[in-house]
C-alpha cells in the first residue's frame, strides 16, 4: 500500500517543472498574439490612404518619379511579399528604412524608445509604491474618513485626462511657482539627477492618472483578504492585528495588483502621445503619431509592433511573478 503512494509521490512534478511548463505555455500564447498583432498592424497600415511615393515626394512630383520611388521602396509588390519581407527582417533586428527620413527605422526608434522608458521608469517608481500604500491604508480603514478621502481623490484624479492634469501642473509648478521645468527634455549631456528633475512634472501627471486605478484594485484585494475565513482564523488564534495584516493579509492581496500594473506598462510606454506633445518630449508615442500623419509605413509598422512587444513582455513578467508567488499554480491541486 505504501508502495503505491511512494511511487505516486515520485511521479509528482517538482514545482520548477510546473512553473516552467506554465511559462512556456504563456510564452507560446504571447508569440501567437504577437504574430497576430503584426498581421493586424501591417494590414492597418496598408489601409492608410494615399500613395506613399506621392506623400513623400509631394504633389508636384511627376508620376514617373513617384512610380520609381514606389518601386525602389518596394511598395508596389504584392501585399504578402511586403509583409514577409518586413517580418523576416524585423525578427533579425532590421526594422526597415523610414520612408520619410530615409534612415534606418532603428536609428529613429531607438532613442525614442529609450526616452519613453526613462519617463515610464520614473513614473513607475513614483506611482506603484504610492498606490500600494494608498490602497492598503484605504482598505484597512474601510469606510472611514481616510478611506473615503483616498478613494474619492484617486477616483477624481484618474478621471481627469492626463493632459489636463499636466496643464494644471505646468501652470502651477512650472509657470506660476517656477519650481520645475516645463519641458521634459533635459539639455544634452545632462546628468541623471537633472534628467529626473525634468521628468518629474510629466511623471506627476501620470501618477495622478494611474494612482486611483491601481489603488482601487489594491484596496479591493486587501479587503477580500481581510474578509476571508483565514484572516478570521488568524485573529482567533490570538495574533495581534499587526501580525495578522503583515503575515496573512498582505501576502494574498497583492497578487491582483501585479496583473493590473503590468497592463499599464503598454500605456506608459506607447500611449503618451499627448504628454509627449505637451512637454515637447521625443518619445515613441510621438514618433508613431508623426509617422501616421506622414504615411511612413515602415516606421509606423515597426514602431507600433515594438510597443506591442513591450506590452507582451510586461504581461509575461507579470505572469512569471504571479506564478512564483501563488502556491496554487506552483503546486497544483491535491492528488
Amino acid at each position: 500500500m505504501s508502495g503505491r503512494r511512494a511511487s505516486a509521490a515520485a511521479r509528482r512534478p517538482g514545482w520548477r517543472t510546473v512553473i516552467a511548463r506554465f511559462l512556456l505555455n504563456r510564452l507560446a500564447l504571447s508569440i501567437i498574439t504577437l504574430l497576430l498583432l503584426s498581421v493586424i498592424v501591417f494590414a492597418a497600415s496598408q489601409l492608410l490612404p494615399g500613395d506613399v511615393g506621392r506623400n513623400v515626394l509631394g504633389p508636384f512630383a511627376s508620376p514617373e518619379d513617384v512610380a520609381k520611388f514606389n518601386h525602389e521602396h518596394g511598395v508596389d509588390r504584392p501585399v504578402w511579399t511586403q509583409y514577409w519581407d518586413w517580418i523576416s527582417h524585423f525578427v533579425r533586428g532590421d526594422l526597415g528604412t523610414s520612408l520619410q527620413h530615409n534612415v534606418p527605422v532603428g536609428e529613429l526608434l531607438g532613442p525614442s524608445l529609450v526616452n519613453s522608458l526613462k519617463l515610464a521608469a520614473v513614473a513607475f517608481v513614483l506611482v506603484v509604491p504610492l498606490s500600494l500604500l494608498g490602497g492598503t491604508v484605504a482598505a484597512l480603514r474601510r469606510n472611514r474618513v481616510t478611506d473615503r478621502v483616498i478613494t474619492v481623490t484617486g477616483l477624481s484624479l484618474t478621471a481627469i485626462p492626463e493632459f489636463v492634469t499636466a496643464i494644471v501642473l505646468i501652470v502651477v509648478f512650472g509657470v506660476v511657482l517656477g519650481w520645475l521645468p516645463v519641458s521634459a527634455a533635459a539639455p544634452e549631456g545632462a546628468g541623471v539627477f537633472t534628467q529626473v528633475e525634468y521628468l518629474l512634472l510629466p511623471s506627476f501627471a501620470l501618477v495622478a492618472v494611474l494612482f486611483g486605478y491601481i489603488a482601487r484594485i489594491t484596496r479591493a484585494g486587501v479587503i477580500e483578504a481581510i474578509d476571508a475565513d483565514y484572516t478570521r482564523t488568524a485573529y482567533l488564534k490570538g495574533l495581534t492585528p499587526g501580525r495578522v495584516v503583515r503575515r496573512h493579509v498582505l501576502r494574498n492581496s497583492l497578487l491582483p495588483t501585479i496583473a493590473v500594473v503590468a497592463t499599464q506598462v503598454g500605456y506608459l510606454i506607447g500611449g503618451l502621445l499627448v504628454i509627449e506633445k505637451l512637454f515637447n518630449y521625443n518619445g515613441i508615442g510621438q514618433r508613431i503619431y508623426i509617422a501616421a500623419q506622414a504615411k511612413d509605413f515602415t516606421l509606423l509598422q515597426s514602431g507600433v509592433l515594438i510597443v506591442g512587444i513591450v506590452y507582451l513582455v510586461a504581461t509575461f513578467v507579470a505572469d512569471l511573478l504571479f506564478s512564483l508567488l501563488n502556491p496554487r499554480i506552483r503546486y497544483g491541486a491535491a492528488e
Binding site: 477624481s156 475565513d229 501616421a292
Partner: protein
C-alpha cells in the same frame, strides 16, 4: 463573506412576499440612488454640461467664435475668464465647448457597448475555438495603447465627428467584450442555463433572453465608465488634431491652440479654464458611475 452571518449583512431570508413588493424594491433602489451623495454630485455636474451642450452659444455672454482685438486680456470685469490669443472670450468658449463632446462621446459609448456586449456574449457562451480565436485577436489589439490605434485609424479615415464615433466605438468594443465575457462565464455555469438547454432553447435565446438580463448590472456600470473614457479619448484626440475640428470651441482645441503660450508668459487662464471644464465633466460622469455601482452591488 465569512465572519458575517446573513443577519449582519442585512440579507433577509425572504419569506413569501406579495408581488407588489417588487415595485417597492425597485422604488427603494431609486431612493438609494437619489440619496447617494456621489450620484447626486455627479448628476449635478453632468446636468450642468448637458444644459450647456443643448443651449450652446445662445446664452453665452459673448459670441464664442467672434474674433476681436482684445487679445490675451487677463480675467476681469468684462471677461470673467479673460480672452485668448485671438481676442475670443474664454468664458463663452468654455460654456459652449461642451456640445461636440456631448454628441460624440455618448454615441461612441453606445456603439462600443452594443458591439462589445454581443461579442462578449458570443465568446463567453460558446467558448471553444470561437472564443479562443476571437480572444487572441482581442488580446493582440489590446496590446496597443488605444490612442495609438485611434490615431492610426483616424489618419486613415480622416477626422470628423462621425469617424470619431466609429473609431472610438470600435476601440471600446473589445474592452467591453472582455468585461461582458467574464460576466457571462460566471453565469453560464449556473443551473438555469442547463435548465434552458433541457427545454430545447436555442443559443441566441439563451444568450439574450436568459443570460443578458442577469448581467445588465455590470454592463450599465461599464457603460458609464466607458462614457468617461470616451470623453477622455475625444479630448485627447482633439488635442492632437484628430478629433473635433476647428472652429468649434471645443475645450481641447482651446488648450491645443494656447498651450505654447505658457512658455512665453503667464497666460494660464487660456488653458486652465478649459482644462477644468474637461475635468469637471469627466469627474461628474465617474461619480455617477460610482453611485450606480454602489447601488447595484447591494
Amino acid at each position: 463573506m465569512s465572519g458575517m452571518t446573513d443577519a449582519a449583512a442585512g440579507i433577509e431570508p425572504a419569506i413569501g412576499l406579495v408581488p407588489t413588493e417588487a415595485k417597492i424594491a425597485r422604488r427603494e433602489m431609486l431612493g438609494q440612488l437619489v440619496r447617494s451623495k456621489t450620484f447626486i454630485a455627479g448628476a449635478v455636474l453632468v446636468g450642468w454640461w448637458v444644459f450647456w451642450a443643448i443651449v450652446g452659444a445662445r446664452l453665452t455672454p459673448d459670441d464664442p467664435l467672434e474674433i476681436t482685438d482684445a487679445i490675451l486680456i487677463g480675467p476681469g470685469a468684462g471677461h470673467w475668464f479673460g480672452t485668448d490669443s485671438l481676442g475670443r472670450d474664454v468664458l463663452s468658449r468654455v460654456l459652449a465647448g461642451a456640445s461636440d463632446t456631448m454628441k460624440v462621446a455618448p454615441l461612441a459609448t453606445l456603439l462600443g457597448i452594443v458591439g462589445g456586449t454581443t461579442l462578449g456574449l458570443i465568446t463567453g457562451y460558446f467558448k471553444g475555438w470561437v472564443d479562443e480565436a476571437i480572444s487572441r485577436v482581442i488580446d493582440a489589439v489590446l496590446a496597443l495603447p488605444l490612442i495609438v490605434i485611434a490615431v492610426t485609424a483616424l489618419v486613415a479615415l480622416g477626422s470628423s465627428n462621425v469617424t470619431l464615433i466609429i473609431v472610438i466605438g470600435a476601440v471600446f468594443t473589445p474592452i467591453v467584450a472582455r468585461t461582458v465575457r467574464a460576466a457571462v462565464l460566471g453565469e453560464r455555469e449556473l443551473d438555469y442555463v442547463s435548465a434552458a438547454k433541457l427545454r430545447g432553447e436555442r443559443a441566441p435565446y439563451i444568450m439574450f433572453a436568459e443570460i443578458l438580463p442577469n448581467i445588465i448590472g455590470p454592463i450599465v456600470v461599464e457603460a458609464t465608465v466607458r462614457l468617461g473614457y470616451a470623453i477622455f479619448a475625444v479630448a485627447g484626440l482633439t488635442f492632437l488634431g484628430f478629433g473635433v475640428q476647428p472652429p468649434a470651441p471645443d475645450w481641447s482645441l482651446q488648450i491645443a491652440d494656447n498651450y505654447t503660450l505658457l512658455n512665453a508668459g503667464t497666460y494660464e487662464w487660456t488653458v486652465l479654464f478649459p482644462a477644468i471644464a474637461i475635468a469637471t465633466l469627466i469627474v461628474g460622469v465617474n461619480l455617477i458611475a460610482d453611485g450606480l455601482q454602489q447601488v447595484l452591488d447591494r
